[in-house]
C-alpha cells in the first residue's frame, strides 16, 4: 500500500500531511526533558510522593459545559484554516519550507543543559529487565517525581494529604534550603521545571507550593520572571483569577514586549473571558481533590 503523498500527491490530504514534516522539538525543550528525567534516574529511582495518576482534569475543569469535545471554536478554526489553505495554492509547492521556530521557554533555554554522558559502554545494561508492559500505567505526575531529588526533601506531598483550599499565604511547610541559593542555577531550573510539570499535570496547588518554595530558596533568582509567570498561570488554573490577572498585569506592565507576553495575555484573556456570573469565583477542585 502506497502512502497518500505518493499515491495522490496533488490531493488536499497529501497537502495537509506534508505540513507535518517541519515539526521538531526545540533543543531547549529536549535538554530540559533530559535533565528532568535524569533527576529521576539518578535520584531515588522514583519515590511515590505524588500519587496522582497522570494528567487529569484538575485545575480549570469546573466550568459547566466546557467538556464538549468538538467545540464551535475548533470547527470555526478548521474552516478558517481551510480557507487559508485553499486560498493559497502556493503552499502545495515549495512554499512550506521554513523550519518550525518552536519557541523554547526563554528562561530555561539558556541553562538547561544535559549532563555529560557518564558511561556509554553500559548504555544497554538495562536490557536485562523483565517483561514489557505495552501500556504502563502512568504514575505520579512529573512534578512530584522531579522534586524527589535526593538532595532535598520534597516540599509538598499532595497525594498523601488531600490539598486544602489554597490561600494566598499557603500553609504548606517547606524544608529550609539545603544549599546556598545564589549560585545554584541548575537547582533553580529544577525547581521551576517541577512547578511547570505540576501545572501541566493540573496540580495547581502543588505548582503554587513549588513556586513558594522557589521564591524562598532563590530570592531574586535568575528564573524569577519565569516563576512569576508560572504563578499567574497556576493561580488561574487554581481558580484564583483575580490574583492571577493582577499579577499578570503587573508583569506585562514591567515588560510589555518581553518573551512572556503571549502567555501573560493568555492569562489575562482567560481572566476576562471568565467574568460572567457563576463562571468562577469559587476555587476549582485541585488535582488531588478529584477522585
Amino acid at each position: 500500500m502506497k502512502r497518500i503523498r505518493e499515491e495522490r500527491p496533488e490531493s488536499v490530504e497529501a497537502l495537509l500531511l506534508g505540513a507535518d514534516k517541519d515539526r521538531a522539538p526545540s533543543p531547549a525543550a529536549r535538554a530540559r526533558a533530559l535533565e528532568a528525567a535524569m533527576l529521576v534516574v539518578g535520584g531515588s529511582g522514583g519515590v511515590d510522593i505524588g500519587g496522582k495518576a497522570g494528567v487529569n482534569s484538575g485545575a480549570g475543569s469546573a466550568t459547566t459545559g466546557a467538556v464538549a469535545p468538538k467545540t464551535a471554536t475548533v470547527i470555526a478554526w478548521k474552516g478558517w484554516a481551510l480557507a487559508a489553505l485553499l486560498g493559497t495554492g502556493a503552499i502545495a509547492g515549495g512554499a512550506i519550507v521554513t523550519r518550525d521556530a518552536h519557541e523554547p521557554s526563554p528562561a530555561v533555554s539558556t541553562v538547561a543543559r544535559p549532563p555529560a554522558p557518564s558511561s556509554k559502554q553500559e548504555a544497554r545494561a538495562a536490557g536485562a529487565a523483565p517483561a514489557l508492559e505495552p501500556e504502563p500505567p502512568i504514575r505520579p505526575s512529573p512534578a512530584t517525581q522531579v522534586v524527589a531529588d535526593a538532595r532535598r526533601p520534597p516540599p509538598v506531598a499532595p497525594a498523601a494529604n488531600p490539598a486544602p483550599p489554597f490561600a494566598s499565604a499557603p500553609s504548606i511547610t517547606v524544608a529550609p534550603p539545603a544549599t546556598t541559593p545564589t549560585a545554584d542555577l541548575s537547582g533553580e531550573v529544577r525547581a521551576v521545571d517541577a512547578a511547570r510539570a505540576a501545572l501541566v499535570a493540573h496540580d495547581a496547588t502543588g505548582a503554587l507550593a513549588l513556586l513558594d518554595d522557589y521564591d524562598r530558596r532563590y530570592t531574586s533568582g535568575s528564573l524569577a520572571r519565569e516563576a512569576a509567570l508560572l504563578r499567574t498561570e497556576a493561580l488561574m488554573a487554581h481558580g484564583d483569577r483575580a490574583e492571577a490577572v493582577r499579577r499578570a498585569q503587573d508583569l506585562l506592565a514591567q515588560s510589555p514586549d518581553g518573551p512572556y507576553r503571549a502567555r501573560l495575555k493568555k492569562v489575562l484573556d482567560e481572566g476576562n473571558a471568565a467574568k460572567t456570573p457563576g463562571a468562577f469565583g469559587d476555587p476549582k477542585p485541585t488535582a488531588s481533590s478529584i477522585p
Binding site: R30, M38, A81, P142
Partner: protein, 198 residues
C-alpha cells in the same frame, strides 16, 4: 534498578549501587537520545497542542525513567509509545475542559516577537488544519494512520510497535485513510457552504 544492582561484575561490596546508578543513567540517556524526537512527534500527532507537547514529552520520559527496569531490550520504542498514548490522551482530555487558555490557535503567531513571513503563517495554518483533522479521527485508526502516513513506518513495524497482528494494522489503516479523507471532504463542504469565515 534491582536487576542492575545485581549484575555480575559490578564491583566490590560498596560498588554495586554506584555502578547500577551509572548504568541506569547511561542506559536512560541512550534511550532518550534515540527516541525523544520520535515520541515528541507522535505526541504532537496524537493531538497534544504545541504549547503542551514539550511538557508532555518530558512527562513520557520521566515516567520511563521511573520504569526503566521494566523496559525490555528491543521493545523500548513500543514501551515509550505506550506511555505517550496515555499521556496524549490525558492531555487531550484535560485540554478539552479548559476553554479560555487553550482555544486560540493563532495566538502564538500573533504574539511572536519576530514577525512571521507569509509562508510561515500559511504553514502554521496548514499544520493547524492537519491537527484538527487528526483530532477528529478515532483514536485507534489515528495511531495507525500517523505511524504509516507521517512516520512512514511499514505495516509490520506498526504491528510490532502496537502489539497488533499485521492484518489488523492493514484493516485499521484502510479505515483510517477513508476516515481522514472523509473528514477533509466534510471540512471542504462546510467551507463551501459557510463561505469559509471562522
Amino acid at each position: 534498578m534491582l536487576a542492575l544492582a545485581n549484575e555480575p561484575g559490578s564491583g566490590g561490596a560498596m560498588m554495586p549501587v554506584r555502578v547500577a546508578t551509572v548504568s541506569r543513567e547511561a542506559s536512560f540517556r541512550s534511550l532518550f537520545e534515540e527516541h525523544y524526537e520520535f515520541i515528541w512527534r507522535q505526541l504532537r500527532r496524537l493531538g497534544v497542542h504545541e504549547d503542551q507537547v514539550d511538557d508532555a514529552a518530558q512527562e513520557v520520559f520521566i515516567v520511563a525513567a521511573r520504569r526503566l527496569g521494566d523496559i525490555r531490550e528491543g521493545a523500548e520504542r513500543a514501551f515509550l509509545f505506550g506511555i505517550a498514548r496515555r499521556v496524549a490522551s490525558d492531555v487531550r482530555r484535560s485540554r478539552q475542559t479548559r476553554t479560555g487558555l487553550l482555544s486560540v490557535p493563532l495566538a502564538r503567531d500573533a504574539a511572536d516577537p519576530a514577525p512571521s513571513p507569509e509562508q510561515d503563517v500559511q504553514r502554521h495554518r496548514t499544520q493547524a488544519l492537519l491537527d484538527a483533522a487528526l483530532d477528529d479521527m478515532n483514536d485507534e485508526t489515528r495511531e495507525v494512520f500517523i505511524l504509516f502516513e507521517l512516520e512512514e513506518l511499514s505495516r509490520s513495524q506498526i504491528a510490532q510497535l502496537l502489539g497488533l497482528p499485521e492484518g489488523t494494522v492493514a484493516s485499521r489503516l484502510r479505515r483510517a485513510r477513508e476516515e481522514f479523507s472523509a473528514i477533509v471532504n466534510r471540512a471542504q463542504c462546510k467551507l463551501e457552504v459557510g463561505g469559509g469565515s471562522p
